[in-house]
């Protein structure tokens, strides 16, 4: 299977519910074999887009292609796509095995094939010994696995997952992330995963589409989304971040320099060249900043430590710059001996190379 093979092609999809526009012209392509995540805050249209792909909602404008074929007019039962529902929607009157066999029965698989596949899929999700139970007799995590098994059993081309982990507790959720990713790799099914949890999106996805207010703001790999967000919304939504007001100045050899109101200056990265001297925002992730002694500071970013928060693996410092904004700095916890900075201390900041990114709104 070629990497670039397109599984789902959404072209300018619009969905309106009466006067409310849930999806305002979204376009994206999801590749074959990909773990693709729709990420955004609640109400951003990610679930609407998922339901359009599944066929539960009728598209208002635009089209959705599945392997090149327009599926916009097909009802959900005619689309070779299956869904794992947020609250699982398991059939309460059927056993686990009957739930899993439901889709295959409708497709008129032979009895032997259904039995084979049910056994295989239940083993895959590690529920082999619970086949005769009813959903009400299972724990939340087990129900989640049944929902996954039921959706995968008929061998869909694309599997849609609507916040499937949101009802599980943290430990289980973390374990399921790894397992889901593994299952996706093993089966080679294209996963379209909806979540509002950025950590979930970053850890599992091949690519992520960040959505807001019915629009797609950015599509990219987790690294691209995290390190090179295209706008302030994406930067704020994905992880903690420092956003600073600066002016940009062209330096020698196409290097751009950001200048803070207080006078400090440092080089920055940018995708699109801005105007010389323009006001802009610059984004620096807290973990790409480090504390140095005031004397060793080269870029003029000096200030006082406001607070230090112990986070276990990390220590997060709040630093108020001289004549300027406050920043968050995250340093790895290297043990008590290596903790020379305390609130009230004067410090300088060092920026890792390439860590300062210019945002153009």
């Amino acid at each position: 299977m070629a990497e670039g093979n397109i599984a789902i092609d959404v072209r300018n999809a619009v969905k309106r519910f009466g006067a409310v526009t849930a999806l305002a012209g979204a376009s994206l392509t999801i590749r074959d074999n990909e773990f693709f995540t729709l990420l955004g805050p609640s109400g951003c249209g990610k679930t609407t887009l998922l339901r359009l792909i599944a066929g539960f909602e009728e598209i208002t404008e635009g089209e959705i292609l599945l392997y090149g074929e327009d599926i916009g007019a097909l009802p959900p039962n005619r689309r070779p796509i299956n869904t794992v529902f947020q609250h699982y929607a398991l059939f309460p009157h059927m056993t686990v095995a009957e739930n899993v066999a439901f889709g295959m029965r409708r497709l008129r698989w032979s009895k032997a094939d259904i039995e084979d596949q049910t056994g295989r899929i239940l083993d895959l999700v590690k529920l082999g010994d619970l086949a005769a139970r009813r959903p009400a007799q299972l724990s939340g995590g087990q129900q989640q696995r049944v929902a996954l098994a039921r959706a995968m059993a008929p061998g869909p081309k694309v599997l849609l997952l609507d916040e499937p982990l949101s009802a599980l507790d943290l430990k289980l959720r973390q374990a399921m992330r790894i397992e889901l990713k593994q299952i996706q790799k093993e089966t080679g099914i294209t996963f379209v995963f909806v979540t509002h949890d950025q950590e979930e999106a970053l850890t599992m996805s091949d690519r992520i589409a960040v959505m807001s207010a019915g629009e797609i703001r950015q599509v990219g790999t987790p690294r691209e989304i995290y390190e090179a967000p295209v706008d302030r919304f994406v930067a704020d939504f994905i992880g903690e971040t420092n956003v600073l007001d600066v002016t940009v100045h062209r330096g020698p050899e196409g290097v751009w320099t950001c200048r803070l109101p207080g006078g400090a200056a440092f080089p920055c990265q940018t995708g699109r060249p801005p105007q010389d001297g323009a006001a802009a925002h610059v984004l620096i992730r807290p973990e790409r900043l480090s504390l140095v002694s005031e004397a060793a500071c080269e870029n003029g970013m000096t200030g006082v430590i406001d607070q230090a928060v112990y986070l276990g693996t990390d220590i997060q410092y709040g630093v108020r710059l001289d004549g300027g904004p406050a920043l968050l700095v995250r340093a790895q916890n290297a043990g008590e001996s290596a903790e020379p900075f305390r609130p009230g201390d004067r410090v300088g900041l060092a920026i890792a190379p390439g860590a300062a990114r210019l945002l153009i709104d």
Partner: protein
């Protein structure tokens, strides 16, 4: 798991000390209005009849004997099975069954429709379903008689529209009785089904559609099995009173084809009645209904035991 099950079975202990006194009114009402009348009928059915109505306090199996055996006009011939009353029972069961089926066919879509309306308008629809029942059953049945008689509005309208050339004979037919029973008991079907459809999670329909089920399959394999308790409750609530009804059969069936309800009613009316025989017929009816319900309950219990 076990702990969860145990906790659902645990009953609140808050009211334990006062539970018995609080239950006294319930026991009095059930005893006075349910247990006592049934025991009285049971006793009457084993007594001797008084010719002007009423009973003589003397043990006798005559009422049951009369129901089952034919011993000729003077009671001196060898006993043969008496078919008259058995036929009446079978006919009543069929009539009640058809009425229940009619209620189900109309009641299920109605209940489904109401349960799928926006929450705010549901109570209005439910209210509309019950509006006709603010009128007395007798009045409603008589109005039905006027509606469907040969020169009534229904036939007049159909004639006027040219759909038919002659009035359809509706009144005094079995169908008229079924129609009357259907109209009498429809809400008893709609309300319990509504209650279970209202609790139904429509994500299950989406899940079924997602797994390649068409509408019919969704209805048959998912919705109906899940709302079945409501359907069963509705059927019982319609079937049981239909079985003993006498207003609709008398007024709409023209008392031509006797049903159990009318048979029993006759025995207690005026001077021509036979109280022990009426009581015996009631007891036989009651036993049949109870046996049917018991068998159903047993099957249900076995089914849910399998589920666990």
């Amino acid at each position: 798991m076990a702990a969860e099950l145990a906790s659902t079975r645990a009953v609140s202990r808050t009211f334990e000390p006062v539970r018995a006194p609080l239950l006294i009114p319930t026991w009095v009402i059930i005893g006075f209005f349910l247990v006592a009348p049934v025991l009285m009928m049971l006793a009457y059915s084993f007594l001797t009849k008084e010719f002007r109505g009423g009973v003589i306090w003397e043990f006798s199996l005559a009422a049951y004997d009369q129901f089952i055996f034919d011993r000729g006009l003077f009671g001196d011939e060898p006993p043969q099975i008496e078919w008259t009353y058995i036929v009446i029972f079978v006919r009543s069961i069929i009539q009640a069954g058809v009425a229940t089926l009619l209620c189900l066919i109309i009641g299920f879509p109605t209940a489904y429709f109401i349960a799928t309306r926006p929450r705010a308008t549901r109570s209005m629809w439910l209210f509309l379903v019950t509006v006709p029942y603010w009128v007395n059953l007798l009045i409603r049945t008589v109005s039905m008689k006027f509606l469907i008689r040969d020169n009534g509005p229904l036939n007049e309208a159909l004639l006027g529209l040219g759909v038919i050339n002659e009035p359809i004979a509706l009144i005094n037919t079995d169908f008229a009785v079924q129609l009357g029973l259907f109209y009498s008991y429809l809400p008893f079907m709609v309300l319990p089904i509504y209650a279970s459809v209202e609790r139904y999670d429509f994500a299950l329909s989406e899940a079924a559609a997602d797994l390649y089920a068409n509408r019919w399959t969704i209805l048959r394999r998912v919705i109906l099995p899940i709302v079945r308790p409501g359907i069963v409750a509705g059927c019982i609530l319609v079937f049981v009173p239909s079985l003993g009804a006498f207003l609709a059969p008398d007024l709409l069936g023209g008392a031509k084809n006797f049903l159990i309800g009318s048979l029993i009613e006759e025995q207690f009316k005026g001077n021509a009645g036979n109280w022990p025989f009426g009581a015996a017929a009631s007891m036989i009816l009651l036993s049949l209904v109870l046996i049917a319900l018991f068998i159903y309950a047993r099957r249900q219990a076995r089914r849910s035991a399998q589920a666990l």
